[in-house]
Symmetry: C2
Subunit: 79 residues, 2 copies
């Protein structure tokens, strides 16, 4: 059966995010003052697995092996 998982990958608390700082700076130059800005990457992955539990487990393996860098990233999986 087909399941779609949503994987959200973000930098761990305290990690520097130069992309976010650059965007915040650019927004400020356009007159948009912001208090804070953070970014995250989302993947929607559809896979053919027997159950929702399997989909979650495979998504977790994908994160550990390719999508996230466990040293700097945290991830969240929704099936």
């Amino acid at each position: 059966m087909s399941y779609t998982v949503k994987i959200t990958i973000s930098l761990k608390e305290g990690m520097l995010d130069p992309e976010a700082r650059a965007i915040q700076h650019a927004l400020s130059n356009l007159g948009f003052a912001t208090e804070s800005l953070s970014t995250a990457q989302v993947f929607f992955i559809t896979m053919d697995v027997p159950s929702a539990g399997d989909a979650r487990q495979r998504a977790e393996e994908m994160c550990e092996r390719l999508l996230a860098n466990p040293v700097i990233h945290s991830y969240e999986i929704e099936v």
Copy 2:
């Protein structure tokens, strides 16, 4: 008052997503078969505005002027 908006930016339907194809290919090389894979970028922006409606409107302006390319991107705003 401080409001945090979540802005999700994704490619419009039918746009080529080379990053997604590359990731799908890399996952396949690791033995993870996927039916489809798409990506999105998320921004969490905290700003000091009088109301939630103002927060949404400012977020929309930010998307139009900097964050999204209206030719290829669609965006979704949650306050």
